[in-house]
Amino acid sequence: MLRIPCPFCGTRDHSEFSYGGDASVEYPALEAPAEAWLEAVFQRDNIDGVQLETWQHLHGCRMWIVVERDTRSHEIHSVRPAHEGLASALAQSADPVNES
Protein backbone atom coordinates (compact mmCIF):
# COMPACT_ATOMS: atom_id res chain seq x y z
CA MET A 1 0.00 0.00 0.00
CA LEU A 2 1.39 3.38 -1.00
CA ARG A 3 0.81 6.25 1.41
CA ILE A 4 0.60 9.51 -0.46
CA PRO A 5 0.96 12.82 1.42
CA CYS A 6 -1.71 14.92 -0.25
CA PRO A 7 -0.72 18.61 0.02
CA PHE A 8 -4.32 19.47 0.88
CA CYS A 9 -5.52 16.58 3.04
CA GLY A 10 -2.45 14.97 4.58
CA THR A 11 -1.20 11.41 4.21
CA ARG A 12 -3.75 8.95 2.82
CA ASP A 13 -3.78 5.40 1.40
CA HIS A 14 -3.29 5.29 -2.36
CA SER A 15 -6.66 3.58 -2.76
CA GLU A 16 -8.19 7.04 -2.22
CA PHE A 17 -6.33 8.23 -5.31
CA SER A 18 -6.66 7.58 -9.02
CA TYR A 19 -3.48 7.21 -11.06
CA GLY A 20 -3.09 9.62 -13.94
CA GLY A 21 0.17 8.86 -15.69
CA ASP A 22 3.52 10.27 -16.67
CA ALA A 23 3.63 13.91 -15.50
CA SER A 24 6.65 14.74 -17.62
CA VAL A 25 4.49 14.67 -20.75
CA GLU A 26 3.83 18.13 -22.12
CA TYR A 27 0.82 18.29 -24.35
CA PRO A 28 1.33 20.39 -27.48
CA ALA A 29 -0.90 23.16 -28.75
CA LEU A 30 -4.08 22.01 -30.47
CA GLU A 31 -2.79 23.13 -33.86
CA ALA A 32 0.59 21.38 -33.39
CA PRO A 33 1.58 18.84 -36.08
CA ALA A 34 0.48 15.23 -35.71
CA GLU A 35 4.04 14.13 -34.85
CA ALA A 36 3.98 16.25 -31.69
CA TRP A 37 0.66 14.71 -30.63
CA LEU A 38 1.93 11.22 -31.44
CA GLU A 39 4.84 11.83 -29.11
CA ALA A 40 2.65 13.18 -26.30
CA VAL A 41 -0.15 10.63 -26.51
CA PHE A 42 1.70 7.39 -27.27
CA GLN A 43 5.43 7.57 -26.50
CA ARG A 44 6.71 7.03 -22.94
CA ASP A 45 10.08 6.95 -21.20
CA ASN A 46 8.74 4.25 -18.83
CA ILE A 47 11.42 5.05 -16.27
CA ASP A 48 12.71 2.40 -13.87
CA GLY A 49 13.56 4.75 -11.04
CA VAL A 50 12.34 8.13 -9.88
CA GLN A 51 9.65 9.56 -12.12
CA LEU A 52 7.05 12.32 -12.01
CA GLU A 53 3.47 11.16 -12.23
CA THR A 54 0.01 12.61 -11.78
CA TRP A 55 -2.54 11.32 -9.30
CA GLN A 56 -6.01 12.61 -8.47
CA HIS A 57 -7.25 12.51 -4.89
CA LEU A 58 -10.52 11.15 -6.20
CA HIS A 59 -12.02 10.09 -2.87
CA GLY A 60 -10.72 13.14 -1.02
CA CYS A 61 -10.24 16.72 -2.15
CA ARG A 62 -10.45 15.70 -5.85
CA MET A 63 -7.34 17.77 -6.61
CA TRP A 64 -4.72 16.66 -9.12
CA ILE A 65 -1.24 16.33 -7.68
CA VAL A 66 2.23 15.58 -9.05
CA VAL A 67 4.05 12.81 -7.20
CA GLU A 68 7.76 12.04 -7.51
CA ARG A 69 7.96 8.28 -6.94
CA ASP A 70 10.52 5.52 -7.43
CA THR A 71 8.92 2.87 -9.66
CA ARG A 72 11.21 0.15 -8.24
CA SER A 73 10.92 0.79 -4.49
CA HIS A 74 7.66 2.81 -4.44
CA GLU A 75 9.37 5.40 -2.26
CA ILE A 76 7.71 8.82 -2.62
CA HIS A 77 10.17 11.71 -2.75
CA SER A 78 7.91 14.73 -3.16
CA VAL A 79 4.32 15.75 -3.76
CA ARG A 80 2.98 19.05 -5.06
CA PRO A 81 -0.29 20.33 -6.51
CA ALA A 82 -0.44 19.85 -10.28
CA HIS A 83 -1.84 23.35 -10.75
CA GLU A 84 1.10 25.75 -10.68
CA GLY A 85 -0.86 28.62 -9.20
CA LEU A 86 -1.98 26.45 -6.31
CA ALA A 87 1.55 25.10 -5.88
CA SER A 88 3.03 28.57 -5.48
CA ALA A 89 0.16 29.74 -3.26
CA LEU A 90 0.67 26.71 -1.03
CA ALA A 91 4.42 27.30 -0.90
CA GLN A 92 3.90 30.91 0.26
CA SER A 93 1.36 30.16 2.93
CA ALA A 94 2.26 28.44 6.18
CA ASP A 95 0.95 24.96 5.50
CA PRO A 96 0.11 22.94 8.61
CA VAL A 97 -0.40 19.73 6.60
CA ASN A 98 3.06 19.65 5.06
CA GLU A 99 4.83 20.82 8.19
CA SER A 100 3.26 18.29 10.47
Partner: protein
Protein backbone atom coordinates in the same frame (compact mmCIF):
# COMPACT_ATOMS: atom_id res chain seq x y z
CA UNK B 1 19.47 -36.85 -25.85
CA UNK B 2 17.15 -39.73 -25.07
CA UNK B 3 13.47 -38.99 -25.66
CA UNK B 4 11.11 -39.08 -22.70
CA UNK B 5 8.78 -42.06 -22.97
CA UNK B 6 6.81 -44.49 -20.85
CA UNK B 7 9.44 -47.10 -21.63
CA UNK B 8 12.24 -44.84 -20.34
CA UNK B 9 10.31 -44.11 -17.16
CA UNK B 10 9.88 -47.86 -16.64
CA UNK B 11 13.52 -48.66 -17.45
CA UNK B 12 14.85 -45.97 -15.09
CA UNK B 13 12.50 -47.21 -12.43
CA UNK B 14 14.43 -50.48 -12.53
CA UNK B 15 17.85 -48.78 -12.52
CA UNK B 16 17.41 -46.42 -9.55
CA UNK B 17 16.72 -43.41 -11.83
CA UNK B 18 20.40 -43.27 -12.77
CA UNK B 19 19.83 -43.13 -16.52
CA UNK B 20 18.51 -39.57 -16.86
CA UNK B 21 20.58 -36.84 -18.48
CA UNK B 22 20.27 -33.15 -17.76
CA UNK B 23 17.58 -31.56 -19.89
CA UNK B 24 19.79 -28.82 -21.34
CA UNK B 25 23.48 -27.94 -21.29
CA UNK B 26 25.04 -25.05 -19.38
CA UNK B 27 27.49 -23.80 -22.03
CA UNK B 28 30.05 -21.03 -21.78
CA UNK B 29 29.01 -18.17 -24.07
CA UNK B 30 30.83 -17.92 -27.39
CA UNK B 31 31.80 -14.42 -28.53
CA UNK B 32 29.68 -14.50 -31.67
CA UNK B 33 26.42 -16.07 -32.83
CA UNK B 34 24.21 -15.82 -35.89
CA UNK B 35 21.31 -14.78 -33.65
CA UNK B 36 21.33 -13.61 -30.03
CA UNK B 37 18.00 -13.41 -28.22
CA UNK B 38 17.85 -11.49 -24.96
CA UNK B 39 15.42 -13.03 -22.49
CA UNK B 40 15.07 -16.76 -21.78
CA UNK B 41 11.39 -16.61 -21.00
CA UNK B 42 8.70 -18.42 -22.93
CA UNK B 43 8.90 -16.07 -25.90
CA UNK B 44 12.70 -16.05 -26.14
CA UNK B 45 12.99 -19.82 -25.77
CA UNK B 46 10.16 -20.48 -28.23
CA UNK B 47 11.80 -18.10 -30.72
CA UNK B 48 15.11 -19.96 -30.43
CA UNK B 49 13.33 -23.30 -30.78
CA UNK B 50 11.51 -22.28 -33.98
CA UNK B 51 14.64 -20.59 -35.40
CA UNK B 52 16.33 -23.98 -35.17
CA UNK B 53 13.32 -26.13 -36.05
CA UNK B 54 11.63 -24.12 -38.82
CA UNK B 55 14.55 -22.19 -40.27
CA UNK B 56 17.62 -24.34 -39.59
CA UNK B 57 19.40 -21.51 -37.76
CA UNK B 58 21.11 -23.23 -34.84
CA UNK B 59 24.04 -20.94 -34.04
CA UNK B 60 21.81 -19.12 -31.58
CA UNK B 61 22.22 -17.91 -28.00
CA UNK B 62 19.45 -17.08 -25.56
CA UNK B 63 20.65 -14.85 -22.71
CA UNK B 64 18.95 -14.38 -19.37
CA UNK B 65 19.97 -12.33 -16.36
CA UNK B 66 18.57 -15.00 -14.03
CA UNK B 67 17.66 -18.62 -14.64
CA UNK B 68 15.47 -19.52 -17.59
CA UNK B 69 11.80 -18.96 -17.00
CA UNK B 70 12.51 -16.88 -13.87
CA UNK B 71 10.41 -13.92 -14.94
CA UNK B 72 6.84 -13.81 -16.16
CA UNK B 73 7.04 -17.42 -17.42
CA UNK B 74 6.27 -18.37 -13.84
CA UNK B 75 4.16 -15.33 -13.00
CA UNK B 76 0.87 -15.88 -14.79
CA UNK B 77 -2.40 -17.77 -14.45
CA UNK B 78 -1.58 -20.18 -17.33
CA UNK B 79 -4.75 -19.51 -19.33
CA UNK B 80 -4.67 -20.35 -23.03
CA UNK B 81 -7.43 -19.09 -25.35
CA UNK B 82 -7.91 -17.46 -28.73
CA UNK B 83 -11.06 -15.38 -28.25
CA UNK B 84 -9.66 -12.27 -29.91
CA UNK B 85 -11.56 -10.31 -32.50
CA UNK B 86 -9.30 -7.71 -34.12
CA UNK B 87 -7.72 -8.54 -37.49
CA UNK B 88 -4.17 -9.73 -36.93
CA UNK B 89 -4.81 -10.72 -33.34
CA UNK B 90 -7.43 -13.34 -34.11
CA UNK B 91 -5.29 -15.13 -36.72
CA UNK B 92 -2.28 -14.87 -34.42
CA UNK B 93 -3.91 -16.28 -31.29
CA UNK B 94 -5.74 -19.01 -33.21
CA UNK B 95 -2.42 -20.11 -34.70
CA UNK B 96 -1.03 -20.10 -31.16
CA UNK B 97 -3.89 -22.27 -29.91
CA UNK B 98 -3.28 -24.75 -32.74
CA UNK B 99 0.40 -24.93 -31.75
CA UNK B 100 -0.64 -25.49 -28.12
CA UNK B 101 -2.80 -28.43 -29.17
CA UNK B 102 0.24 -30.32 -30.40
CA UNK B 103 2.88 -28.85 -28.12
CA UNK B 104 3.47 -31.82 -25.82
CA UNK B 105 4.10 -34.11 -28.80
CA UNK B 106 6.12 -31.46 -30.60
CA UNK B 107 8.45 -30.93 -27.65
CA UNK B 108 8.38 -34.52 -26.28
CA UNK B 109 7.60 -32.81 -22.99
CA UNK B 110 4.29 -32.95 -21.19
CA UNK B 111 3.13 -29.33 -20.91
CA UNK B 112 -0.13 -30.60 -19.38
CA UNK B 113 -2.25 -28.61 -21.82
CA UNK B 114 -5.81 -29.17 -20.71
CA UNK B 115 -8.56 -27.98 -23.08
CA UNK B 116 -11.12 -27.57 -20.36
CA UNK B 117 -13.10 -24.64 -21.89
CA UNK B 118 -12.95 -20.95 -21.13
CA UNK B 119 -16.26 -19.64 -19.82
CA UNK B 120 -16.88 -15.87 -19.75
CA UNK B 121 -19.95 -15.04 -17.68
CA UNK B 122 -22.53 -12.64 -19.09
CA UNK B 123 -24.70 -10.31 -17.03
CA UNK B 124 -26.78 -8.26 -19.45
CA UNK B 125 -28.42 -8.62 -22.88
CA UNK B 126 -26.10 -5.92 -24.24
CA UNK B 127 -23.05 -7.86 -23.07
CA UNK B 128 -24.48 -11.01 -24.65
CA UNK B 129 -24.97 -9.23 -27.98
CA UNK B 130 -21.42 -7.87 -27.90
CA UNK B 131 -20.01 -11.27 -27.00
CA UNK B 132 -22.03 -12.98 -29.73
CA UNK B 133 -20.55 -10.59 -32.27
CA UNK B 134 -17.04 -11.27 -30.98
CA UNK B 135 -17.44 -15.05 -30.97
CA UNK B 136 -19.08 -15.10 -34.40
CA UNK B 137 -16.13 -13.10 -35.75
CA UNK B 138 -13.77 -15.63 -34.17
CA UNK B 139 -15.65 -18.49 -35.82
CA UNK B 140 -15.10 -16.86 -39.22
CA UNK B 141 -11.35 -17.17 -38.58
CA UNK B 142 -11.68 -20.85 -37.68
CA UNK B 143 -11.70 -20.56 -33.90
CA UNK B 144 -14.46 -22.20 -31.89
CA UNK B 145 -17.00 -20.34 -29.80
CA UNK B 146 -20.37 -21.09 -28.20
CA UNK B 147 -23.08 -19.22 -26.36
CA UNK B 148 -24.43 -21.02 -23.30
CA UNK B 149 -27.86 -20.06 -22.00
CA UNK B 150 -28.54 -20.10 -18.27
CA UNK B 151 -29.89 -23.70 -18.01
CA UNK B 152 -26.81 -25.01 -19.86
CA UNK B 153 -24.46 -23.02 -17.67
CA UNK B 154 -26.20 -24.21 -14.50
CA UNK B 155 -25.88 -27.80 -15.66
CA UNK B 156 -22.16 -27.43 -16.48
CA UNK B 157 -21.12 -25.35 -13.43
CA UNK B 158 -23.78 -25.79 -10.76
CA UNK B 159 -22.02 -24.00 -7.91
CA UNK B 160 -21.67 -20.47 -9.28
CA UNK B 161 -23.66 -17.77 -7.53
CA UNK B 162 -26.90 -17.74 -9.56
CA UNK B 163 -28.80 -15.71 -6.99
CA UNK B 164 -31.22 -13.23 -8.53
CA UNK B 165 -30.27 -10.86 -5.68
CA UNK B 166 -26.61 -10.66 -6.61
CA UNK B 167 -25.30 -7.31 -7.81
CA UNK B 168 -24.70 -8.72 -11.30
CA UNK B 169 -27.01 -11.72 -11.88
CA UNK B 170 -25.58 -14.25 -14.34
CA UNK B 171 -27.67 -14.69 -17.52
CA UNK B 172 -25.40 -17.00 -19.52
CA UNK B 173 -21.87 -17.31 -20.85
CA UNK B 174 -19.72 -17.23 -23.94
CA UNK B 175 -17.51 -20.27 -24.15
CA UNK B 176 -14.44 -21.33 -26.07
CA UNK B 177 -14.33 -25.13 -25.59
CA UNK B 178 -10.81 -25.59 -27.02
CA UNK B 179 -9.30 -23.07 -24.59
CA UNK B 180 -7.81 -24.17 -21.29
CA UNK B 181 -4.68 -24.14 -19.17
CA UNK B 182 -1.14 -25.51 -19.31
CA UNK B 183 1.72 -25.95 -16.87
CA UNK B 184 3.85 -22.84 -17.30
CA UNK B 185 7.20 -24.20 -16.05
CA UNK B 186 6.91 -27.21 -18.34
CA UNK B 187 6.48 -24.94 -21.35
CA UNK B 188 9.72 -23.10 -20.53
CA UNK B 189 11.56 -26.35 -19.86
CA UNK B 190 10.17 -28.06 -22.95
CA UNK B 191 11.17 -25.24 -25.28
CA UNK B 192 14.57 -24.96 -23.57
CA UNK B 193 15.24 -28.67 -23.98
CA UNK B 194 14.03 -28.69 -27.57
CA UNK B 195 16.15 -25.65 -28.49
CA UNK B 196 19.20 -27.01 -26.68
CA UNK B 197 18.91 -30.36 -28.49
CA UNK B 198 19.11 -28.50 -31.78
CA UNK B 199 22.29 -26.68 -30.79
CA UNK B 200 21.00 -23.45 -29.22
CA UNK B 201 23.14 -22.15 -26.32
CA UNK B 202 21.01 -21.10 -23.35
CA UNK B 203 23.19 -18.78 -21.28
CA UNK B 204 21.75 -18.24 -17.82
CA UNK B 205 22.93 -15.71 -15.23
CA UNK B 206 24.12 -13.49 -18.05
CA UNK B 207 22.74 -9.99 -17.66
CA UNK B 208 22.85 -7.56 -20.55
CA UNK B 209 24.31 -4.32 -19.18
CA UNK B 210 24.79 -2.35 -22.37
CA UNK B 211 24.19 -2.31 -26.08
CA UNK B 212 26.98 -1.37 -28.51
CA UNK B 213 25.75 0.08 -31.75
CA UNK B 214 26.57 2.13 -34.79
CA UNK B 215 24.11 4.51 -36.43
CA UNK B 216 21.99 1.72 -37.86
CA UNK B 217 23.20 -1.60 -36.37
CA UNK B 218 23.69 -3.39 -33.09
CA UNK B 219 27.31 -4.49 -32.98
CA UNK B 220 27.44 -6.24 -29.62
CA UNK B 221 25.86 -6.78 -26.24
CA UNK B 222 27.81 -6.02 -23.08
CA UNK B 223 26.92 -8.68 -20.57
CA UNK B 224 27.99 -9.77 -17.12
CA UNK B 225 29.84 -12.61 -18.90
CA UNK B 226 31.65 -10.53 -21.49
CA UNK B 227 30.78 -9.06 -24.84
CA UNK B 228 28.54 -11.25 -27.00
CA UNK B 229 28.00 -10.39 -30.64
CA UNK B 230 25.13 -11.46 -32.83
CA UNK B 231 24.68 -10.96 -36.56
CA UNK B 232 21.05 -10.46 -35.61
CA UNK B 233 19.72 -9.57 -32.17
CA UNK B 234 16.21 -10.05 -30.76
CA UNK B 235 14.80 -8.49 -27.60
CA UNK B 236 12.20 -10.61 -25.80
CA UNK B 237 12.22 -9.13 -22.32
CA UNK B 238 8.62 -8.07 -21.73
CA UNK B 239 8.32 -6.05 -18.55
CA UNK B 240 11.81 -4.59 -19.03
CA UNK B 241 11.66 -3.71 -22.72
CA UNK B 242 11.97 0.03 -22.05
CA UNK B 243 15.17 -0.50 -20.03
CA UNK B 244 16.85 -2.43 -22.83
CA UNK B 245 15.52 0.07 -25.36
CA UNK B 246 17.20 2.88 -23.41
CA UNK B 247 20.48 0.93 -23.32
CA UNK B 248 20.31 0.87 -27.11
CA UNK B 249 19.63 4.64 -27.03
CA UNK B 250 16.48 4.23 -29.09
CA UNK B 251 14.32 6.68 -27.15
CA UNK B 252 10.74 6.18 -26.08
CA UNK B 253 8.29 3.31 -26.58
CA UNK B 254 4.47 3.09 -26.55
CA UNK B 255 4.80 0.88 -23.46
CA UNK B 256 4.43 1.24 -19.69
CA UNK B 257 5.44 -1.40 -17.14
CA UNK B 258 2.61 -2.39 -14.82
CA UNK B 259 2.17 -5.11 -12.23
CA UNK B 260 -0.27 -7.98 -12.45
CA UNK B 261 -0.91 -10.19 -9.45
CA UNK B 262 -1.93 -13.83 -9.31
CA UNK B 263 -2.97 -16.10 -6.50
CA UNK B 264 -3.12 -19.80 -5.59
CA UNK B 265 -5.27 -21.22 -2.83
CA UNK B 266 -4.64 -24.30 -0.73
CA UNK B 267 -5.37 -27.51 -2.68
CA UNK B 268 -9.00 -28.60 -2.84
CA UNK B 269 -10.81 -31.66 -4.16
CA UNK B 270 -11.91 -31.23 -7.80
CA UNK B 271 -14.24 -28.23 -7.79
CA UNK B 272 -14.02 -26.34 -11.06
CA UNK B 273 -13.64 -28.08 -14.43
CA UNK B 274 -13.35 -24.94 -16.57
CA UNK B 275 -11.65 -21.57 -16.64
CA UNK B 276 -14.27 -19.08 -15.47
CA UNK B 277 -14.08 -15.35 -16.15
CA UNK B 278 -16.13 -12.72 -14.33
CA UNK B 279 -15.87 -9.26 -15.84
CA UNK B 280 -18.53 -6.63 -15.48
CA UNK B 281 -18.57 -3.06 -14.22
CA UNK B 282 -15.51 -2.63 -12.02
CA UNK B 283 -14.99 -6.36 -11.54
CA UNK B 284 -12.35 -8.34 -13.38
CA UNK B 285 -11.60 -11.88 -12.28
CA UNK B 286 -10.55 -15.22 -13.76
CA UNK B 287 -10.16 -18.57 -12.04
CA UNK B 288 -9.28 -22.17 -12.76
CA UNK B 289 -8.18 -25.16 -10.72
CA UNK B 290 -4.69 -26.60 -11.13
CA UNK B 291 -3.98 -30.31 -11.34
CA UNK B 292 -2.68 -30.15 -7.77
CA UNK B 293 -6.06 -28.79 -6.68
CA UNK B 294 -5.11 -25.18 -5.97
CA UNK B 295 -7.51 -22.54 -7.21
CA UNK B 296 -5.45 -20.29 -9.52
CA UNK B 297 -6.90 -16.83 -9.99
CA UNK B 298 -6.20 -13.20 -10.73
CA UNK B 299 -7.78 -9.87 -11.48
CA UNK B 300 -6.86 -6.34 -12.36
CA UNK B 301 -3.51 -4.60 -12.61
CA UNK B 302 -2.26 -2.64 -9.63
CA UNK B 303 -3.38 0.57 -11.44
CA UNK B 304 -0.09 2.40 -11.30
CA UNK B 305 3.21 1.96 -13.09
CA UNK B 306 5.76 -0.22 -11.33
CA UNK B 307 8.87 -2.32 -11.84
CA UNK B 308 8.60 -3.93 -8.37
CA UNK B 309 7.71 -7.62 -8.52
CA UNK B 310 5.35 -7.35 -5.58
CA UNK B 311 1.68 -6.55 -5.49
CA UNK B 312 -0.43 -4.18 -3.44
CA UNK B 313 -3.11 -5.06 -0.94
CA UNK B 314 -6.20 -3.28 -2.36
CA UNK B 315 -6.02 -5.65 -5.35
CA UNK B 316 -5.81 -8.66 -3.02
CA UNK B 317 -9.05 -7.48 -1.42
CA UNK B 318 -10.65 -6.70 -4.77
CA UNK B 319 -9.80 -10.13 -6.20
CA UNK B 320 -11.00 -11.90 -3.04
CA UNK B 321 -14.30 -10.02 -3.26
CA UNK B 322 -14.74 -11.07 -6.88
CA UNK B 323 -13.94 -14.68 -5.97
CA UNK B 324 -16.52 -14.90 -3.24
CA UNK B 325 -19.14 -13.07 -5.24
CA UNK B 326 -19.21 -15.66 -8.05
CA UNK B 327 -18.01 -18.71 -6.08
CA UNK B 328 -19.29 -18.16 -2.53
CA UNK B 329 -18.09 -21.68 -1.64
CA UNK B 330 -14.52 -20.30 -1.64
CA UNK B 331 -15.29 -18.06 1.34
CA UNK B 332 -13.26 -20.08 3.83
CA UNK B 333 -10.51 -21.24 1.49
CA UNK B 334 -7.09 -19.95 2.49
CA UNK B 335 -4.62 -18.32 0.16
CA UNK B 336 -1.43 -20.34 -0.27
CA UNK B 337 0.73 -18.22 -2.56
CA UNK B 338 0.57 -14.86 -4.24
CA UNK B 339 2.91 -13.27 -6.74
CA UNK B 340 3.18 -10.38 -9.13
CA UNK B 341 4.77 -9.95 -12.53
CA UNK B 342 5.83 -6.84 -14.43
CA UNK B 343 3.89 -6.51 -17.68
CA UNK B 344 4.64 -4.54 -20.80
CA UNK B 345 1.33 -2.70 -21.09
CA UNK B 346 1.14 -1.16 -24.55
CA UNK B 347 -0.86 1.85 -25.66
CA UNK B 348 -3.52 -0.23 -27.44
CA UNK B 349 -3.31 -3.51 -25.54
CA UNK B 350 -1.65 -5.41 -28.38
CA UNK B 351 1.87 -6.70 -28.85
CA UNK B 352 4.88 -5.69 -30.94
CA UNK B 353 6.59 -8.26 -33.18
CA UNK B 354 8.56 -6.09 -35.52
CA UNK B 355 11.70 -4.67 -36.99
CA UNK B 356 13.24 -1.65 -35.29
CA UNK B 357 15.16 1.48 -36.29
CA UNK B 358 18.33 -0.67 -36.22
CA UNK B 359 18.63 -2.98 -39.22
CA UNK B 360 19.68 -6.13 -37.31
CA UNK B 361 17.59 -5.63 -34.16
CA UNK B 362 14.14 -7.21 -33.78
CA UNK B 363 11.57 -6.52 -31.08
CA UNK B 364 9.22 -8.94 -29.30
CA UNK B 365 7.38 -6.95 -26.63
CA UNK B 366 4.17 -5.41 -25.34
CA UNK B 367 2.27 -8.58 -24.39
CA UNK B 368 0.01 -6.98 -21.78
CA UNK B 369 -2.14 -9.69 -20.14
CA UNK B 370 -1.74 -12.05 -23.10
CA UNK B 371 1.84 -13.24 -23.02
CA UNK B 372 1.45 -16.81 -21.79
CA UNK B 373 -1.08 -18.00 -24.35
CA UNK B 374 0.81 -16.18 -27.09
CA UNK B 375 4.19 -17.77 -26.50
CA UNK B 376 4.14 -20.55 -29.16
CA UNK B 377 2.94 -18.24 -31.95
CA UNK B 378 5.13 -15.42 -30.68
CA UNK B 379 8.18 -17.67 -31.03
CA UNK B 380 6.93 -18.95 -34.38
CA UNK B 381 6.44 -15.53 -35.98
CA UNK B 382 9.45 -13.90 -34.27
CA UNK B 383 11.73 -16.66 -35.60
CA UNK B 384 10.21 -16.15 -39.05
CA UNK B 385 10.75 -12.39 -38.79
CA UNK B 386 14.40 -12.79 -37.74
CA UNK B 387 15.19 -15.51 -40.28
CA UNK B 388 13.58 -13.82 -43.28
CA UNK B 389 13.92 -10.17 -42.25
CA UNK B 390 10.28 -9.45 -43.14
CA UNK B 391 7.06 -9.82 -41.17
CA UNK B 392 4.55 -12.56 -41.91
CA UNK B 393 1.22 -11.03 -43.10
CA UNK B 394 -0.36 -12.03 -39.76
CA UNK B 395 1.96 -9.69 -37.81
CA UNK B 396 2.11 -6.99 -40.45
CA UNK B 397 0.50 -4.39 -38.18
CA UNK B 398 2.14 -5.45 -34.90
CA UNK B 399 4.68 -2.67 -35.37
CA UNK B 400 5.80 0.32 -33.35
CA UNK B 401 4.68 2.59 -36.16
CA UNK B 402 1.04 1.54 -36.09
CA UNK B 403 0.11 4.48 -33.86
CA UNK B 404 1.38 7.10 -36.29
CA UNK B 405 -0.54 5.34 -39.05
CA UNK B 406 -3.72 5.24 -36.96
CA UNK B 407 -4.15 1.47 -37.10
CA UNK B 408 -4.21 0.72 -33.39
CA UNK B 409 -5.16 -2.87 -32.51
CA UNK B 410 -7.33 -2.06 -29.52
CA UNK B 411 -9.37 -5.16 -28.51
CA UNK B 412 -11.13 -3.37 -25.67
CA UNK B 413 -11.54 0.01 -27.33
CA UNK B 414 -10.06 1.52 -24.18
CA UNK B 415 -7.88 4.17 -25.82
CA UNK B 416 -4.23 5.09 -25.34
CA UNK B 417 -3.91 4.41 -21.61
CA UNK B 418 -1.83 1.30 -20.85
CA UNK B 419 -3.43 0.54 -17.48
CA UNK B 420 -6.87 0.17 -19.07
CA UNK B 421 -5.93 -2.72 -21.35
CA UNK B 422 -6.46 -5.47 -18.80
Amino acid sequence: MKPYSAWNVFRNGLSRQKGWERAWRDPEPKTEYDVVIVGAGLHGLASAYYLAKNHGITNVAVLDKGWLGSGNAGRNTTIVRSNYMMPGNREFYEHSLKLWENLSHELNYNVMFSQRAHVSLLHSPAARDGAARRYNTMRLTGADGELWDLPTLKRKIPHLNYSADSRFPIIGATVQPRAGTARHDAVAWGYARGADQRGVDIIQNCEVTGVERTANQVTGLKTSRGIIRGKKVGFAVAGNTSRLWRMAELGKLPIESHKLQAFVSEPLKPLLDQVVVFGVGGAHFYISQSDKGGMVFGGDLDWYKSYAQRGNLPIVQDVAECATSILPCLGRVRLLRHWSGVMDMSMDGSAFLCKTPLSNLYLNAGWNYGGFKASPASGWYFADLIANDRPDPVILNHTLSRFERGINIDERGAGPDPKLHG
